[in-house]
């Protein structure tokens, strides 16, 4: 044991130390559990901490290492999982009363892959109910607080996962991103958050919000850790028909050459305004940093960017209204008894869903209704096509684009609670990527107002993860 445990703060270093027998997975887990004991009551990142299960898994991994077997690239690394990914026999709630204490009989594909790679599931993290929100205030089980300022939100919907990594409860976490739900909380909590290309990571076992937009991705404290996690969870899954049927090049390999010389970094000249000055200031520094590192700055236009928010708030709720129809009290989850079946549906759904979920179900049902489909959902699909086309044109001139991740730093808890539209604007810069199916990531890049973290968003075209990670790594390096 020649490596002090306290120096191991990244998944990469932990896995290396555990694989080589330098440290015990059990000690790693105990250190993170201790941190949870100290701060979780303030932060409330978790719906469920899996203390005993994590210790058992760690012991099993240590036994494997002792027996001389290779445990995998995430050997002994604790990971926090957003509570909308199915874990066999472990409650999976989506932070909703309608699934309170529901235990899936199967594991999500990402859970299988993490487990096969030696990762240790340490807890299920809080989220906006069914991933609908940008602050993790819409949870049936309480608000998650930003570890950098407890009176501020952690962002959302994957606020629990972002906060868990920022608070040191786990070196890595998984979230899901439908309109910014990984990148925005990553920015607000000062950690790395990646939404890969649609189809890069299997959605099997991810409880759907909007199926054509949802994508799982990692939170980490370093770009390299995010690459490590993506290398483990990415790749084709025959159980998800929309997963891309090809193997992806290792992003960790990509990072071995971090040069951005000649990389074309695009600035969207018609980007909608609305970001605070402290945020845009950091974005300018990011452009300068990449240029100084050898990148070429180019101007591009994405005219349809401005219509993304509107299209998104028709498409995502439309799909959600269908995806959430299965929560009817018949087979699992909450059931509120009533006189007949229709009354039971109504009573169950009235009691089980929170107000934001109900708002989106109604919005989506309306958008798909006979007589309104063409005017709303149908037009939103056309806008979606335009957005993808505009981005594709932009990526002929640029390898990556930089934008703010969030228009603001973390805002005070309760400050937008009564204004859904203000809340929706949090995802102004992240939503277009989901509509286009492209990858995007948020890189922590200094601080803004009140010393709170600011994230810069790096975007790329379909399967442009390699360029995106190299640009992100260059930004990260400049901060060290």
């Amino acid at each position: 044991m020649n490596t002090p445990l306290s120096s191991l703060t990244t998944a990469t270093s932990i896995a290396q130390a555990v694989r080589s027998g330098d440290v015990c997975a059990a000690d790693v887990v105990d250190r993170y559990l201790a941190q949870i004991v100290i701060r979780e009551s303030d932060v409330h990142a978790f719906n469920l901490v899996l203390t005993e299960e994590a210790r058992q898994t760690a012991a099993a991994i240590d036994a494997e290492v002792a027996a001389g077997r290779d445990v995998g690239p995430l050997a002994g690394v604790p990971i926090a999982l957003k509570d909308n990914m199915c874990t066999r026999g472990i409650p999976t709630t989506c932070s909703s009363k309608i699934l309170n204490n529901w235990k899936p009989p199967y594991d999500a594909t990402v859970v299988d892959r993490l487990s096969a790679a030696g990762a240790i599931l340490i807890g299920k993290t809080n989220l906006d109910e069914f991933a609908m929100g940008s602050s993790t205030e819409n949870s049936a089980f309480g608000v998650t607080h930003n570890p950098h300022a407890l009176d501020r939100v952690a962002g959302g919907s994957s606020g629990g996962s972002a906060a868990a990594v920022a608070a040191g409860f786990a070196p890595i976490a998984l979230g899901s991103d439908t309109g910014g739900s990984i990148r925005q909380p990553a920015a607000l909590c000062g950690v790395v958050g990646v939404k890969p290309t649609y189809g890069y990571v299997s959605r099997y076992g991810l409880i759907a919000f909007a199926s054509s937009l949802d994508q799982i991705g990692p939170f980490a404290t370093t770009i390299e850790d995010a690459a490590l996690v993506l290398d483990v969870i990415g790749g084709h899954d025959p159980q998800d028909s929309t997963s891309i049927p090809q193997a992806h090049p290792s992003l960790r390999q990509v990072l071995r050459t971090q040069d951005v010389t000649g990389m074309r970094v695009g600035r969207i000249t018609d980007l909608p305004e609305g970001a605070d000055p402290d945020v845009t200031e950091r974005l300018e520094v990011a452009f300068d940093t990449l240029r100084a590192a050898g990148a070429v700055l180019v101007d591009v236009q994405v005219p349809a960017f401005a219509y993304a928010l509107t299209a998104y708030y028709l498409i995502a709720p439309a799909e959600a209204s269908s995806n959430l129809a299965r929560f009817d009290g018949v087979r699992y989850g909450l059931r509120v008894p009533a006189a007949d079946t229709n009354a039971m549906y109504s009573a169950t759904r009235a009691a089980g869903f929170g107000p934001e979920v109900k708002r989106r179900i109604m919005l989506g049902t309306y958008a798909l209704s006979a007589g309104y489909y063409d005017a709303y959902y149908g037009r939103a699909l056309k806008v979606r096509r335009l957005i993808a086309d505009d981005f594709d044109r932009a990526y002929r001139d640029a390898d990556v684009l930089l934008t703010p991740t969030s228009p603001t730093v973390a805002f005070p808890i309760g400050s937008k609670g009564d204004n859904p539209l203000a809340m929706y604007l949090c995802d102004l810069y992240t939503i277009p990527t989901n509509l286009a199916g492209h990858p995007g990531m948020s890189v922590p890049f200094g601080t803004g107002a009140d010393g709170l973290p600011v994230g810069v968003q790096v975007l790329a075209g379909t399967l442009g993860e390699a360029a995106m990670f190299r640009a992100a790594a260059a930004l990260e390096r400049s901060m060290q």
């Binding site: 099997y204 759907a208 929309t242 269908s322 299965r326």
Partner: protein, 493 residues
């Protein structure tokens, strides 16, 4: 009096059916037929597709619509759907899946995955045995629902029951829905369409197509109008569970609509339930309270675009279809392709056998008649060697056995699962009468049945039977009936 308590029009003296019209009204019938595909597993998951097992054993996260579960399309189901489409001369085209959203307890996801505006098969047709062509609008893939059982009540229906049980074994079973154009004009044509369609489905191995087990289900769209005018408002009839019910329900519904129109009422577009026991249809739901299904493209699946090579391979592997087999057998035997004998023998799959009798030097026309009459219990591969039947038919057309004798010999052969017709005929003491001795018997019959003879001479065909019967009796069955008839006609002059 509410609409669904109409007096049964069948009780009020049956109107006459003339030229396929009922009191001057023409029926317009279109059919939507759902068939369960004969795959090993479900349309979107690996659970078994099996009927009749203990409830809720063929289930999995996808079948139950558990949160996070995703559908994966069954390739074999696509192949069977293409077989159906190609057998119906449809165009197989690139297609997509949609979600059809509605709440029902036995539908696990609260939406059904179905094909909507881009179905896999479009624009085909089916030819009835009489040659009439019925258009096929589409034949698309979709998943079946689970099955609810309502218990604790008197009727087995949901009203009055105390609770319901759901069996999800059927949920997710692959279906193809075959939608005809409204090209049928009588209940009989509808029956023929379904019978022919069933024959095709069995021939291509797409489904076991058992209406009584629900693996083939018909919804009937019926309207009536005066010929030459616009089609009337249609009603859709559900719960039609046999070909017989199909005919009855269609007739009933047409007469109900005619009675309404003639009483000055208006037919409403609605879905009606056929009650087999009291022979009526009842309102299930009207157009106004129909669900808005909020169809949209299923985001969990990708477009289905079978390669031209795959389509061609499926086309080339199709077996000969019932219509072509009837044409072939009809031509070989000199019989109409829609004659009863040809229909029956092809349906039993015994046409290859009949043709084999011909190839072995037998008489195919006689073989057709014998197989139709004597092989009802034999399958597509009869136990009697074709060689044995060939010999029998040779003896028959060679005048060595009468039709009656041949029938008796064949009965023994079938009973024994084969045998030498020559030896059996000898053992039975059969020898056909020659023409001169037969003529004597004919003259004797004329003399003994003078009354019948004079009636026969006067052109009364019925009298022939008495005269032939007399000859058969006096010859102890050895006379050839056709020859006797010919002799009588000759004598009549």
């Amino acid at each position: 009096m509410s609409d669904n308590r109409l007096v049964n029009p069948l009780d009020n003296g049956r109107p006459t059916l003339v030229d396929n019209l009922i009191d001057g009204w023409e029926l317009v019938v279109g059919l939507e037929v759902h068939v369960e595909l004969a795959t090993a597993t479900k349309l979107f998951s690996a659970s078994a597709n099996r009927f009749g097992d203990e409830p809720n054993i063929h289930i999995d996260p996808v079948t139950l619509g558990l949160p996070g579960a995703l559908p994966v399309l069954n390739r074999h189901a696509v192949e069977l759907a293409m077989r159906i489409g190609l057998a119906l001369d449809c165009t197989v085209q690139p297609s997509t899946f949609h979600r059809k959203n509605y709440f029902y307890p036995d539908m696990p996801k609260a939406y059904q995955i179905s094909q909507y505006d881009q179905p896999i098969n479009i624009d085909g047709h089916l030819d009835l045995p009489n040659g009439q062509r019925i258009g096929i609008e589409r034949a698309h893939l979709e998943e079946d629902t689970g099955k609810s059982t309502h218990v604790g009540g008197p009727s087995g229906r949901i009203h009055g029951s105390s609770h319901s049980l759901i069996d999800f074994n059927r949920a997710g079973v692959p279906l193809v829905e075959i939608v005809s154009r409204p090209d049928m004009r009588t209940a009989e044509e509808a029956r023929q369409y379904v019978t022919e369609l069933r024959g095709i489905l069995l021939a291509v191995g797409a489904s076991d197509a058992k209406m009584e087990e629900g693996s083939m289900r018909c919804d009937v769209n019926v309207s009536v109008h005066k010929p030459g005018t616009m089609f009337g408002t249609r009603c859709e009839i559900k719960n039609v569970n046999s070909v017989r019910s199909l005919g009855r329900a269609t007739e009933y519904e047409a007469r109900r609509q005619i009675a309404m129109i003639e009483a000055g009422e208006t037919v409403r577009q609605e879905t009606r339930h056929w009650d087999e026991n009291d022979g009526r249809t009842y309102t299930l739901r009207t157009k106004e309270d129909a669900d808005d299904y909020r169809y949209f493209l299923e985001p969990d699946l990708v477009p289905l675009d079978p390669s031209p090579e795959w389509i061609q391979a499926v086309r080339e592997a199709l077996p000969m279809l019932p219509g072509a087999r009837r044409t072939r057998l009809g031509a070989a035997t000199g019989t109409a392709p829609d004659s009863e004998a040809v229909m029956v023998v092809v349906e039993r799959g015994q046409d290859d056998y009949v043709l084999a009798v011909g190839h072995l030097g037998g008489d195919v026309a006689r073989a057709l008649v014998h197989v139709k009459e004597a092989y009802a219990d034999q399958g597509a591969e009869p136990s009697v060697a074709a060689q044995d039947l060939a010999l029998l038919t040779r003896m028959e057309v060679g005048g060595k056995l009468t039709a009656t004798q041949a029938k008796a010999v064949l009965a023994d052969i079938v009973e024994a699962g084969g045998g030498d017709a020559q030896a059996i005929a000898v053992a039975k003491g059969f020898e056909a009468l020659d023409t001169s001795s037969l003529e004597a018997l004919v003259d004797q019959a004329i003399a003994e049945n003078a009354d019948a003879w004079s009636k026969f001479q006067a052109g009364e065909g019925k009298a022939l039977g008495a005269l032939v019967g007399a000859v058969m009796k006096s010859s102890q069955g050895k006379a050839d009936g056709k020859l006797v008839t010919a002799l009588l006609n000759a004598k009549k002059g």
